[in-house]
Symmetry: C2
Subunit: 299 residues, 2 copies
């Protein structure tokens, strides 16, 4: 970056042969996060959701802009918020390039705009899925939604289990390096912010394809597997906030996909792209799993 915080604009050099990928996300108190959340976790998550969008495009993070509206300026809160945000930013060499801090008339509102770069024409899009491609996900699904249910008092969990799923909710890990490595392998990608069914439908619509997903292959944590099957299905299929990558790749790329993910995060094949226009989720017996449940809505 030529020039950071302090002038009217930040100035950012163009990258030869590259496109900029830009994503804007807002987190609103009471809507996207609870007021008693650890400010460090909030700082982490606010940046993580934007980096997750960059990851879904296969972009390398470069810098971000922070707009923060706060009811009051609490130095201790701000320090912890910044600590959480900078820890994640430093990990990805993604610099704070500018921002705007305002007084808020009510709750906390955080908007982050993140910029990453990607070789021109190489970005992963939602529209690239082809009939016959494998459908993959990274990590495990449904834990963040279980963490939210626990935080709202809707479910009881042993302490260690609760801590695990609340961490998944509050400190999501954007799959940045996986996204970059998938650029040459995957045919399409999206990050799972609103739940598998809803986000897979975005890919299907953009690509003009259908999909069959095998319920039994959907990766679920040991904690989630302690829940009744209907709860597991609701959380893993329609729970949000996982920030894992959902991507498609030609079946001859299977070994390469597993190789590039090695050491980063487990990846699992959960289904196949079809020429029908619908989404089918089938259980071990081939029976349809009800996906009529609505996609996750932020509380």
């Amino acid at each position: 970056m030529a020039l950071g915080v302090g002038d009217d604009c930040a100035l950012i050099a163009s990258e030869a042969g590259a496109q900029w990928a830009v994503s804007t996300d807002t987190l609103v108190e009471h809507v996207h996060f609870l007021s008693d959340v650890d400010p460090a976790a909030l700082g982490h998550k606010a940046l993580a959701v934007s980096l997750s969008d960059l990851a879904a495009c296969g972009a390398t993070p470069r810098c971000f802009f922070l707009a923060l509206a706060l009811p009051s300026a609490d130095p201790a809160w701000l320090e912890r918020f910044s600590d959480g945000m900078y820890a994640l930013a430093d990990l990805h060499c993604c610099a704070l390039a500018g921002g705007d801090t305002s007084r808020s008339s009510a709750g906390i509102v955080i908007t982050i705009t993140a910029l990453g770069y990607v070789p021109t024409g190489d970005a992963l899009l939602r529209s690239g899925a082809r009939v016959g491609d494998d459908i993959w996900v990274s990590g495990e699904l449904g834990d963040a939604a279980l963490g939210l249910a626990f935080r709202r008092g809707d479910v009881d969990l042993p302490q260690a289990a609760a801590q695990r799923v609340v961490t998944k909710l509050e400190l999501p890990v954007p799959r940045v390096l996986l996204g970059v490595r998938l650029r040459e392998l995957a045919s399409s990608a999206i990050d799972l912010s609103d739940g598998l069914v809803g986000d897979l439908r975005h890919v299907m619509r953009a690509s003009g394809v259908g999909a069959v997903v095998n319920w039994a292959q959907i990766p679920r944590s040991a904690v989630l597997q302690q829940q009744p099957i209907p709860t597991q299905q609701r959380l893993a299929l329609a729970g949000g906030d996982d920030y894992e990558l959902l991507f498609t790749a030609a079946s001859e790329r299977r070994a390469q996909v597993i190789a590039v993910a090695a050491g980063l995060v487990p990846v699992t094949r959960i289904g196949i792209v079809t020429s029908t226009t619908g989404l089918e989720v089938v259980d071990e017996d081939g029976a349809a799993v009800d996906t009529g449940m609505i996609a996750f809505e932020h509380f």
Copy 2:
């Protein structure tokens, strides 16, 4: 733009030989605007303040990202807001490239991140003012602050006068083309969002210089000139929200500065850059005008 709204990120081509200028600004209900403002004016102003930052760098607007947090989704409100925003965006060929709409737990919060491009190394900065340079402003100062005083009921004005200054407050004109044309002429620039004295001090600090400003030369509208002199001084020197450009240029550039501004907006020389570190504002008799009044604070 390669790809707009609808994927995880917007993709923007690099401009050969250019840098990106990026600015983020937030407007918060009750803090930066009154709840009864016309939504079309609000849409205009939210984008105008970001374009004004680009103008201060001499950047050509390219695209913008909108994050909108709303207590409720009122289609009529949104349509008027969009109309106001798009009218200004279209005027500057500045496309909406992405965004995020959320429910707000309280008031309206609008964050816009605007991207413009500028030939590498040619951006106008706050740090370029040199001793002996002329100090210039575009337009007339203080009307927006008078409009705010009127809207708050702090001052009475005839109807036509009120309409004029409220328009200056609610529909500021970002000096985009002037900024672009000044790139090769001005030594430094900033946009006047917080008031002349405060913003000139930003330039002085960044450039390591002082300044003398002649009160009599500060351009004021006929409406403002009807106010008592102390009110005129407070509003023109420390009132905010004018979104005019303040810039410095070598004295041999005077004719060129006037030539490039012709047909866009009047520009006025108001003072000179000095080697002292302070700011002096002097009246026609050379007596000091008190600049101890604090810079404009948003209500």
